[in-house]
Amino acid sequence: MSDDHLQVFSEEAEDLLGLAEQALLSLDDLENEADTLDCVNDLFRTFHTIKGAAGLFGLDPIVDFTHIVESVLVKIREGEFGVDEDMVSLFLLSRDHLEQLVEHALNGEESLTTELATNNQDLVTKLSIYLGESAEDVALKRADIVTGELQLTEDDDTLGVINENWHISLRFGPSVLKNGMDPVSFISYLLRIGELESVVLIDDALPSWDELDPEVCYLGFEIKFIATDADTNKETIEDVFEFVQDDCIINILPPHSHISDYISMIDSLPEEDMRIGDILVACGALTEHEKENALNTQDKFTDAVIAAGEEQRAPPLGKIAVEQQTVQQEVVDAALKKQSKLKQQRANSQQSIRVNALKLESLVNLVGELVIGSANSELNARRLDDANLNEAMENLLRLVEEVRDTALGLRMVQIGETFNRFKRVVREVSLDTGKDIDLLISGAETELDKTLIEKIGDPLMHLVRNAIDHGIEAPSDREAAGKPLKGTVKLDAFHDSGSIVIQITDDGGGLSKEKILNKALEKGLIQENQTLSDQEIYRLIFQAGFSTADAVSNISGRGVGMDVVRKNIEALRGHVELESEVGVGSTISIRLPLTLAIIDGFQVRVGGAHYIIPLEMVDECIELNEALRGEDEQANYVNLRGEILPFMHLKDMFGDKPLSENTELSDAADKHRDNIIVVRFAGKKAGFVVDELLGEHQTVIKPLGKVFQNLRGISGTTILGSGEVAMIIDIPEMVNRVVNSDKQNFVSSQSIH
């Protein structure tokens, strides 16, 4: 099979495994039996679909493994035993293993690595415990179920036949050729999984020449088959005939089958019993003695069911089909469900298409260029001062803006799926730590950029683990503190002034400031007499090598985490903050920009350079006049309608570069006045004094290269309509600076950034 197909298979398998995980996790919470059964059915379907697909590709390890999982699920469905936590864990492990198998298969490697094989064996053994039999028996057992109804009790003494090989009996249905199937190709496909010891053609059904219809298949085969792989089970062989199983009579008997199986097979076949017996002997399935034995036993049996005798001689095809269907009712059910599900999936796929991420990326890049290009056109159009041109330009710009929003919207994905992954994490970690924990998810429909979603997964994982391991106390401690025994971890996502906020809240013990301070002193991160605000103290835990957990557990506490989390989030132009109250719990808020590509910006001029401030963060613009500033020329705060607003001159920070010749000055710049732009980030307000306000600008973010990786206060660049490069101000960083510098005026403390 080509890699393309394999790729499709792996994508499908990935989706299905995702579904399986969800089903498994919901299985955990369910108390209602009917719902549980639904879930088990879901699981069965997903595993079965994977098995079927894997079979098409001849991925035997996957087929074999899923088969065993399926068998256990069948048992559950039949009510042989209920679902408990251990079983869910085992299934989850099996699911993971399957994921690895799929990945392995995708790499095109035939044989399993030792690690996978051991894992495989391990899981198979564990699963087999539920089946109450060894793994090899599973296949046999299945065969028994299929032919089980006609099982005879009287020949207990005649055990399995001597035949060491599989026996496959095929009667192709009359419509096989019309359906475009070639009987020979199925038989030659068998060669892929084993050898054909002997093949006997059954042409008894062939009519005379006059009656012969060349489009009807009259043939049958009796095949003695040697499986290459000792693990080959009935399912594997059945899968070979998957496409024709509906209109053919297929009997597959494993090695050393019970003689009664042969009898029932002989019964089910349209030909004369004696003749079949001879054929079976001829192809080596049975010895002469076994044949006699079988036919004699059958005679006895036939006497008992004499009424059916006539029909048994030549039972109509339909009846056999029905008979087999009643035996394999669950298989039929599964197939039907699979079909209806496929239909449903097809309906879904009409609403969405898979697009290569690279294509999408190049589209977004192109739109970025389009935005820059249109800004340039607008600038030139305005210079020409032609009414018609300007109007056309307006229209064009509006469209460009819409195209921009749509293109960016294509990359938006709901965060819910990422959140759901954590159900599993919470479940496992709470089992490991012996804490009972609920995961509450809200804001799952909040959308954010796909690249962000991918990159936020790991930091989130870490934070959730931390919340459980360090945050939530042991049940005994919780009881002592008068809290509910069950701990709660909450994941929430929402939009807030141009950012996405993801919050992880736990109702655990909270962070002890004392402990953090002591630890920080110990590690030399702060000095003895330093005064720190609460926020600054909490920020310490994001320093490298910092962990307040007294004991290092296998989940977290090695102190490599939080600083990496912070770095990862900052790499996404995001910020992370922590709030905590001892005894009540902690909340970690991650703020991320809505998108990484194009934003609405507010353009300002400082000296000769242009800067962009993300528009969503701009609260208002006010004139900085005497009335506002008050007496003190040197003051770095103003009274904004009764509120203290710290501010800074951007010139002080970015330098006062003289105006270059090609910087155009608008009229407003001549009557110079200072403006304060009031920005807000994470609840904090700050003002920046600029020379001129230039209005809105669609800003295509061009990242600053590695050369500028340590530059603070500038988050990127953009290209203006004039072709000039403008810096984008990193507002979160700058707000922190302003607010901190304000404080530093009172307390001369070393900044702990």
């Binding site: 920070m653 970015f654 570069k657 500028f708 500038i714 490069v725 810096m727 510098s741």
Partner: protein, 173 residues
């Protein structure tokens, strides 16, 4: 922007043990750069200063839609900037750093020519007597009796060094 000379590949790959070098003038000295790293040469202009960066980083330019940092080579070597003239050019180089290809521009006073230099005409860099850091030099070449300083572009444009000095300057409050 007018392009004076472009495209390293177009000039043909060096044969045998000789390599091609682009020579340029900086201050009073002639330098050479292996042309394989050179992407294009453009006229100097429209450099946007990036605040809070060391002096030898002139700023960034808009190179057909991508933002490329520009380094003042003279400042980097001697700490002194040479005055910009009509012949001041920016050589756009492509360097690989940690498997990441980045484009960097360097300003030079004047671009000369492309020379074929035989490997045995190149001598190891001297330990003394040079105005600039020895790690920037990968050798000295004698061409028609004149000495040419061949630059080790990896070291000149080491991202680690460039960005390290670009740390936060103390804030004025």
């Amino acid at each position: 922007m007018q392009e004076i000379a472009i495209d390293a590949e177009g000039l043909g790959v060096s044969s045998g043990d000789s390599a091609q070098y682009l020579t340029f003038i900086l201050g009073s000295k002639v330098y050479g750069l292996e042309i394989l790293n050179i992407k294009e040469i453009i006229e100097y202009g429209d450099v946007t200063e990036v605040p809070m960066m060391p002096d030898f980083i002139s700023g960034v330019i808009n190179l057909r839609g991508s933002v490329v940092p520009v380094i003042d080579l003279s400042k980097r070597f001697t700490g002194e900037s040479t005055p910009h003239t009509k012949r001041t050019s920016i050589i756009i180089l492509e360097v690989t750093n940690d498997d990441l290809r980045i484009e960097v521009g360097v300003t030079v006073d004047m671009v000369n020519e492309v020379l074929d230099i035989q490997a045995n005409d190149i001598e190891p860099s001297p330990d003394l007597g040079s105005q600039i850091q020895t790690s920037f030099i990968c050798g000295m070449a004698k061409v028609e009796g004149k000495l040419l300083i061949l630059l080790d572009i990896k070291n000149v444009l080491s991202i680690e060094e460039l960005s390290q000095v670009g740390g936060v300057q103390s804030m004025v409050t």
